[in-house]
């Protein structure tokens, strides 16, 4: 039987993490399953959880008045979902809905924040790892802003 630590060790964002830190964060985690169309997060809710997707996919979206849901991005196996738990005011900014069945690991944000406060080495390590994810998402967003397929010179 594989433990949560084993599963987390396979996730890119936690690659090379010290075993004692993996053990600490696994203590704030549990396995969860979402059915098709089920909500993982709702815009405006308290951001007390983040997820690592084990299998499946989720859609990050927002509601546009008189238009409906606008799909922003999809996230997939081993992606991290949610970082508002880390930064005040700890409110969810976008809706996240399961596309099909999604197996994930859910982390209790308050539990993790408490452990980070007690252990600054763990706190720095986690912040560094989340920063890398944030930078990657920012780069993706910038690339989309360029609208690379919008203009086609020549053929």
């Amino acid at each position: 039987m594989r433990t949560l630590e084993d599963l987390l060790a396979e996730v890119e964002a936690f690659e090379g993490m010290a075993p004692e830190h993996l053990r600490l964060i696994a203590g704030c985690a549990r396995n969860v399953v979402f059915g098709d169309g089920e909500w993982l997060m709702r815009e405006g809710d308290a951001a007390d959880t983040f997820f690592v997707i084990r299998t499946g996919a989720v859609a990050v979206s927002t509601h546009v008045p008189q238009h409906g849901a606008l799909l922003i991005e999809t996230l997939h196996q081993h992606d991290l979902v949610g970082w508002s738990w880390l930064i005040p005011p700890h409110r969810v900014n976008f809706d996240v809905i399961s596309n099909g069945t999604t197996h994930a690991i859910a982390f209790d944000g308050a539990c993790l924040r408490g452990k980070c406060e007690q252990d600054p080495v763990l706190g720095y390590d986690l912040l560094r790892r989340f920063s890398a994810v944030l930078v990657e998402r920012l780069q993706r967003t910038r690339l989309r802003l360029i609208d690379v397929y919008g203009h086609v010179p020549g053929r």
Binding site: V148, V152, R155
Partner: protein, 282 residues
């Protein structure tokens, strides 16, 4: 049936080709099927080479080859109507004639890719120029390692070759990942830039050959992601676009530094053009 068919290598005089079929791919993009209208025909094309298509009275444009059959001379081109010439080409009716000359340019390095994992990254209208690569690898499947197609589009409505994507995606010997930059809530596929597909695509970076085609900025970020994954720069190839006029390396319209994109390219090893792609004025 054309009597005494004669293949002619790329020159300056267009040969007459007749439009035998036409399919609308997206709101502004059409796939045209052409056959030689007389005995003379263009010589067979290698994957990655291009033709100059001539809409009489409008002008000539370089068009990549989506498929070509050396025996019958049949050609398939997918064209986005974005200017006077491409609009005239897309407006051509079945049965009408256009001019064509070719084949021109350097082909994808399929011989070098034998035994290697083949990674094809296409963005937007970049899918047609790599379709012959995919067809060739699938036809000679045992000669190659894994085959991955990573395809990105602006939106679901802009995706080309939906039927082929479905067919390729169902094959056990090929991985197909499609993503779009934006989509409505009814889209069940991936949303995100094409580079997001690279970290988890199934290939061995140490034995991969990558072929990348799409808008230049998309290729730049894609090459960076491939290198980050571990694909050696010298095994990454790109297909470039420039304003091509003569297509035979004479007029200089398409020059990128010292390279004639029409003659030395359009397919280049990335390392050969990397320094020129970074020069803003070129």
């Amino acid at each position: 049936m054309c009597p005494a068919a004669e293949a002619v290598a790329g020159g300056l005089a267009p040969l007459p080709y007749r439009l035998t079929g036409k399919r609308q791919e997206t709101a502004d993009t059409w796939t045209l099927e052409l056959e030689p209208a007389r005995a003379e025909r263009m010589a067979p094309f290698e994957p990655g080479q291009f033709a100059m298509l001539y809409a009489f009275g409008a002008g000539e444009a370089p068009i990549s080859v989506g498929a070509s059959d050396g025996a019958s001379g049949r050609m398939v081109h997918t064209i986005r109507a974005v200017g006077a010439v491409t609009e005239a080409l897309c407006a051509t009716a079945t049965g009408q004639e256009i001019g064509a000359r070719g084949p021109f340019g350097a082909a994808w390095p399929l011989a070098d890719a034998e035994g290697a994992d083949v990674v094809v990254v296409a963005g937007g209208l970049g899918l047609p120029p790599v379709r012959p690569v995919l067809e060739r690898v699938l036809a000679e499947r045992e000669r190659f390692g894994t085959l991955s197609l990573l395809y990105g589009g602006r939106s679901p409505d802009d995706l080309l070759y939906r039927d082929a994507l479905e067919e390729w995606g169902a094959r056990p010997d090929m991985d197909v990942e499609v993503t779009v930059d934006s989509a409505g809530a009814d889209w069940r596929g991936r949303v995100g830039v094409v580079t997001t597909l690279i970290p988890r695509a199934r290939f061995d970076p140490g034995r991969a050959v990558a072929m990348v085609v799409g808008p230049e900025v998309m290729m730049r970020f894609t090459v960076a992601a491939l290198r980050e994954r571990g694909v050696p720069a010298e095994r990454i190839h790109v297909s470039l676009e420039r304003s091509m006029k003569c297509a035979v390396g004479v007029c200089g319209h398409c020059m990128l530094g010292p390279e004639f994109v029409c003659k030395d390219g359009p397919v280049f090893p990335y390392t050969r053009v990397e320094r020129w792609l970074g020069v803003p004025a070129l």
